[in-house]
Subunit: 436 residues, 4 copies
């Protein structure tokens, strides 16, 4: 008497339906139920963004379901527009969409800096690891499936438009995360007209690439600006970046202390302990980690004998975040001077600059246009003109998109105690001296 139909009620997409009677849906249901996917319920999609946007508490699990769902919508739209789609291709596209975040660990963007590992590599590794349930489910369905999905996520896949829907500048991952992050942060910038984009998707017969019909160009423009705005306003928010840098500093300090045998709270043989002693993790150890481990350790660190680690942990948990000073406009000399003054103030107040003066550099390429390599089918191709439609790269058609240039924000982060010194130093820079 198992329920034939499963319905997920989603804040972004409404009802997401899967039907046990359909083989593809059945496989997706099994994958969703696998422990490796369920673990994503315990990993926040936006890591520390909730320190700046209290509503940004959603998990990678909810996002993964959303990506699977937008992939289903995109494939249906392509089919309606006349594209022939083999059932197996659809299944692979939807499974890849569902599993694309499998390799994310807790606070990924932070931990990757500490561990020098990429979540994409972990995803590929986990798909192929015999000890995972996901792998077992996939090979039971088709022994080639793990390899196919890895190829799909890596952009090495035919037909090309399917790989592009999985990962490109116009992919289902972004379709979902912009809408979801926008809703959860209360930042309306991230909204765009998904149904209208879907209705404009097509496939160029000659190249097998995804294109947008002329009627969709404005919607794609809106979507690119939505992404740009979300990066500027949310993902690069100064408080979020300060918290991330504090987390990096804490981990680096803990790793140092562990190496020196000076870390009090240890659970030997645990995955976290391996991580803090920079030993490699097995797939199952990696999968055992989630946000709760990191948070639990930070809570324990409040009582560490090392004053730096315990102080950082308490600041972090009580959200007494470092201040951020944007220095993007300053010259290297000016920055060096600033850094020296702040360091001095910190030392004078008993803070070790190595852990208390953090440099943040956040950059994005809002759109990889003609000035960027296109190894991965990165360009968005659109039709121009109704009477003689031609295919164009979108920044050739849209001056606004052409105006979306790469940028980088530089910031110095430090505790409140150094604030007055820092701000006074900046104030003293005559505007004429400003770098730009």
């Amino acid at each position: 008497m198992a329920l034939a139909t499963r319905r997920y009620s989603d804040p972004v997409h409404g009802i997401i339906t899967l039907d046990r009677g359909d083989p593809a849906d059945g496989l997706l249901m099994a994958l969703i139920d696998a422990p490796e996917m369920q673990r994503l319920r315990r990993i926040r999609q936006l890591g520390l963004a909730c320190v700046a946007f209290q509503g940004a508490e959603h998990s990678r699990f909810a996002h993964s379901l959303g990506v699977m769902h937008t992939m289903t919508l995109a494939l249906n739209a392509l089919r309606r527009s006349g594209v022939a789609l083999a059932p197996e291709t659809c299944l692979q596209a939807r499974a890849a969409a569902l599993l694309h975040d499998l390799g994310h660990g807790p606070f990924s963007h932070v931990m990757e800096k500490v561990l020098h590992q990429r979540h994409e590599d972990w995803t590929a590794r986990l798909l192929g690891a015999p000890e995972t349930t996901v792998h077992a489910i996939l090979v039971a369905y088709d022994p080639e499936l793990p390899r196919r999905l890895a190829a799909l996520m890596a952009g090495e896949f035919q037909p090309r438009f399917v790989a592009q829907l999985v990962s490109s500048q116009l992919d289902c991952d972004r379709f979902d995360y912009l809408l979801r992050d926008s809703l959860m942060t209360g930042v309306s910038y991230g909204r765009y007209d998904l149904p209208w984009i879907l209705n404009a998707l097509a496939v160029d017969a000659a190249s097998g690439r995804l294109i947008a019909r002329a009627r969709g160009v404005l919607a794609v423009e809106e979507y690119l600006f939505a992404r740009y705005h979300m990066f500027r306003r949310v993902y690069f928010h100064h408080a979020l970046r300060a918290a991330e840098n504090m987390l990096v500093a804490m981990f680096r300090r803990a790793v140092t202390l562990a190496a020196e045998g000076a870390l009090a709270f240890r659970l030997p043989e645990s995955a976290m302990d391996k991580l803090l002693t920079t030993r490699p993790l097995t797939p199952l150890e990696y999968l055992s980690l989630d946000d709760a481990d990191v948070l639990f350790y930070i809570k324990q660190w409040q009582r560490e004998p090392d004053p730096t680690l315990s102080d950082l942990a308490r600041r972090f948990l009580e959200r007494r975040l470092f201040k951020s000073l944007e220095v993007s406009d300053l010259s290297p000399d000016q920055i060096a001077d600033l850094r020296a003054r702040i360091s001095g103030a910190l030392v004078a107040r008993g803070f070790d600059p190595e852990s208390y003066l953090l440099e943040d550099s956040a950059g994005d390429v809002p759109y990889f246009g003609p000035y960027a390599p296109d190894a991965l089918d990165r360009h968005i191709i659109v039709e121009e003109g109704r009477t003689h439609p031609r295919l164009r790269e979108i920044s050739e058609v849209s001056a606004a998109v052409a105006g979306l240039r790469p940028y980088r924000l530089h910031r110095l982060c430090f505790p409140e105690a150094a604030r007055d010194v820092a701000y006074e130093a900046v104030r003293r820079l005559a505007p004429a001296e400003l770098g730009r």
Copy 2:
């Protein structure tokens, strides 16, 4: 036992509240109840847009309330940000916002072409016309008020930021119409984050001009793109423009017939009759006109003896609209050639090209930047930088806004009967010949 508080329930803004106990609100309530404002209930905000977007049936009355409301919100936001605002200034700003569309006639953008009159001039004239109720209400409150409001709408007003909120590239008119038209057309492009813009508004003490704080720049960008997208997708929609051109052709034909004494349906001494015989209208005559008159006449014209007028009227009412062929990319010679071929086809089928081959030219300046004169405080000024904020014109700060260039769409409109000839002619232009 009059109700102390009046609540308008609005699809865009929720509840709009006015309180009889407040003198300013009391004046606004009286103005809303004046017959000249009530007439705007019978004039559609977007004229013929409903032929392309069936939901775009909202009136100028609903929009006018919305502009008044967004002005109230903007003034409250400025007050919270520390701007001193005299009660009389607020009242004038809100009254100007409410009354700014007073001079609109039915299907304004069309009729202005036929009549060579501007609705802005009619608004100014009506404010000063003693025979209107609005004028009487205003002078009873303050004899200077009509003159003040006219100055405010004309941009000649101190403080400047108030005039800018009434009419500029960042004004309450646009605040409302983008949200309203977007909702009603189902086109999500027009949405933007109004609360966030309002929260970023401020006044530059030196110049008295409206500015946006640095935190609002992205929201203003989004708003400018919303406006750009609405023009491209909605206001310049080919079906809407075809219908407008058909209406112009019908009126021109009726005026010609009336001049020749060949128009059968006449109601002598009516405002419509004066209009069709190009006699000037008094304010009360002008105010007597609304969408119902125009529609009623078109319905009568279905039975006119003149075959052109009756045919156009039937096509219009049954929504058998002319086809639109965009020729923006073609050279003048190519267009002349096309026009000749279509004319030939029309004549061969018994259609008079004067009424059946219509040229449409629709252009917009998405943002009046440095390349445009700034007589009316047109530029949007924003703060840049947090440590040393400076005032900048927004296109200096935003490459995307700088990319928003003026454009113009050229189209030929003609009946279905000439379609094959026209499309075949265009197809035969080799792509190499295309103008751009």
Copy 3:
């Protein structure tokens, strides 16, 4: 080069897509383009509701598209839940949904009172009238189609659940109008969870009737309350009802004057003239009427010699509406006494009570439950229980629905001039005397 796909952008449903390649969609597109459907663009869905809710200006055309669309959604949902649906049945259901309001005239609910005609009868008559384009399109597709659609709308159709989706207490007409009217009025009461209801729809194999699965019961409850709230707050709004009664009074007066030869503005042989002289209309004459005619005539009536008609017309156009006094709680004697006092006050001020003292009676059955006959499959049947599901009538399962009882509101409407007298009279009724 006709567009293969047509997209309607809708404020309620987003994109509504029809595909010329699909025979059913092709038929629906032809029907939408027929002059009889296009005419519904000029008839407001809620008649005079915009006097109370300025946003309620949407047309029956937009609603009709919406009903067709919700029918498509409902049929798809049933198919997904395992119901076998013949293509012809779907086509008939969707065509009936699209055409169900064909027979509406301008301000239907008002005009039906004056003319003693039902719009349902006109819909049936127009479907069968050879002179209509709709009829011609239908018979060209299938000579039986007009008869089938009429049967479907009349509830005489197999399978029963299709007839129920067209017209019942859980039908696509209500699905659309609640969402649409709610959005346009800004009254959030009318919202309910349509996707969840659709996902719960099923067909009882034994009876062929539409049912809701147990998981949908709460959503159906919410929907019934949405409808109840919309009637109480919107459709029975005192200002709307006052305006409707004024329109009835105006028409009755005009008919009387026409009979006496005392009506100045006449357009002999026009449909409106036949209507004012109570002569029967042919189908084409009936179809020639829309809101513009009624509004145009009211505008002319402002200049009629009869002081009552001209006064009522001016009040109506300037929205100086009659006041409404609710007397539902009063006894018949108390009402008679009130009526006499108000009449006296009106006569003393020179108003004829026949046109100036109007009685309004507005009643609704929020849910036809066990106490109502069920000739038309009126009851909503739901499943109860998961382990032993049984079919129950919803008011047996939901005490809240059982609490939704029929009600009737009585009001007296009269001009402002009689207000003080009326309110003073009511005030003097000691609370103890109040009817209830």
Copy 4:
């Protein structure tokens, strides 16, 4: 150079603004920044609801800000409607709204069952505990404030309507949580028209109680149904309840093992250890607990030697939840019989029924009407009638509300392994035997 204004961007309410220049806002900002409030970021509002609704991952912190904000809105609405409000009263109301969830621990509704403690008691205790920052902030502002806030939350406060806004059947807590939980779960049932309710709020001068004007009755009805629907569909969801019961079973098992010295993972002197050994916690120990501790322990328990605890922990983390069988309709004898059969099946399969056969009883009083005591001003009082308004308890006015009766759901929860036996047993109960 501290920012004068703080803006919280909220998914439900948009922008929530606090201004450092205002003393009340300044106090609220300090309270928000206190570690005790920041801790609520690590406690999910709906505990385990995310197992059934993947989006329900929001924290009590976001909710607490929302309650403070709706309180601000409610007080503003009352002030506009003419209620005199002392600044200190407003401050106390807003602070109480912000702090009302201070005493919540991780997965409160579950832990309260295990610990026999109420979060309301903890809130009161923490307000008065000198070791908390919140207490220090409050007494620095006004030494009486902790006592006043406790009284306010306990309903012992004058004016009564303020206490009612803090806690009653129409309070700001519910105003926020219904909207927030509804958005996050994707369940639209929880939406209702908050602005319209706020606009209808007033205070009865005679009793000092909160009332709703007649115009708000339908909105209050909608709100009560929203709450009813959220309980039925979300808060009492079978999967959520199964997960909660599993968590209770795990904790009980861990407490038993700890008492027997058979629990392997222990961190002596930690708050969790005191909790597992049923020793009382100090305020600071209590405050040190959040969701991360509970999740971290469950993760460790996967490796406990006790097979029951380790099995339950793995099931819980992998979301292999117990099945729920609703038995509300069955007689006590039938339930006892079922329980015996399921127990037998479990024992046969090696499961200890004490931890594997769980009984769930979930009941709610959707509205405390006349049949319930009114010690805490529980009844919702509304005005009825416009000409002679009288105060009525809402269930006297609304048959629908009167139909909202208390109810209770009984369920048996057990692992999949006992499913067939259980369902077969239920199936064999002839419908005639069913309890109701």
